[in-house]
């Protein structure tokens, strides 16, 4: 069922042409990497602040509130370009172990967001009262750093898995 959907997806007209174009695919890849730089830096900046390692003269709540919209924009841009890369080789990606690890990491990141939502992200003003960053904020920051670095490595790994024979490309 899933694999039928993936074969249908990769053979939709925009994705067949993206797959066969010599330049469109690397352009989308370069846009994906550019968006990663912006999005990744915003994540690192937030995490470093939660850890108390940088930007100490800006309060945690100030930083989180100001970056909320730009971060969403960065995530949507990165995910959109990433989806295009996936969609034109959806069937192959399904079998790719690094891609599977990456999806698993995204699930962990979603769990991280839910777990620290109340304590850190939804009401960061609470964290401004103490001079030092509280332990659970530091934990949120360090786990986030670890998870996103793992996503980066898994993402790079995808390209190293050799292409499979017998894919249903039209």
């Amino acid at each position: 069922m899933l694999i039928t959907t993936l074969i249908w997806l990769e053979n939709l007209p925009p994705f067949t042409s993206l797959r066969s174009s010599a330049y469109a695919y690397p352009i989308v890849l370069a846009l994906h990497v550019s968006a990663i730089s912006l999005f990744g830096a915003m994540i690192v900046v937030t995490d470093l602040r939660l850890l108390g390692w940088s930007f100490q003269d800006c309060s945690i709540s100030d930083l989180i509130h100001q970056l909320r919209r730009p971060k969403w924009f960065g995530l949507i841009a990165t995910a959109t370009f990433g989806f295009l890369l996936f969609a034109c080789k959806a069937e192959e990606y399904y079998y790719n172990s690094f891609f599977r690890v990456k999806i698993l990491l995204f699930l962990l990141i979603a769990m991280h967001a839910v777990a620290f939502r109340r304590g850190v992200y939804s009401d960061p003003a609470k964290l401004d009262h103490s001079l030092k960053s509280p332990p659970h904020a530091k934990l949120a920051g360090s786990l986030s750093l670890l998870l996103w670095v793992a996503v980066l490595c898994a993402g790079r790994g995808i390209g190293y898995v050799p292409g499979r024979a017998g894919m249903h490309y039209h």
Binding site: P26, A30, V33, L38, S54, C58, Q66, R156, Y160
Partner: protein, 148 residues
Amino acid sequence: MAIENPLSTSPLAFPILECFHIAGFALAIGMTALVDLRLLGIGLYKQSPSHIARAFEWWSLAGLVVAVFSGLLLFSTDPDMYYLNWSFLIKMVCLALAVAFHYTIHRRAVFRGISPSAGRLVALVSMMLWVSVIFGGIFIAVVRPGLA
């Protein structure tokens, strides 16, 4: 006697170095982009551009250093290919321009202040230069088969 590059003996060396390379330049380019977005009036609008730049200065320099050194090691695995690769050459020209621009005009605009319209121009040039370095890097692998 031929001396083999130790990086070529392990198939894992190149991809691991690439991860360092990507993490390094993402940090450097992304943090610079946050300063550029501020010059455009987007993002950390409560802080001044110089405040943001000072807060991230050492982190983004660390990212650039990691990217350059991992890049040198990546280059060392196949120097002839890179030297003959026109995308690599364009990338190096863009990188030199981006770094030069960053430490001269961009730095002056951020720390000494500049008119808002000139600030926007500086931000756009800075972002275009850094993004062109990324494009140059991605296209190294695309133009590679064209080599004899």
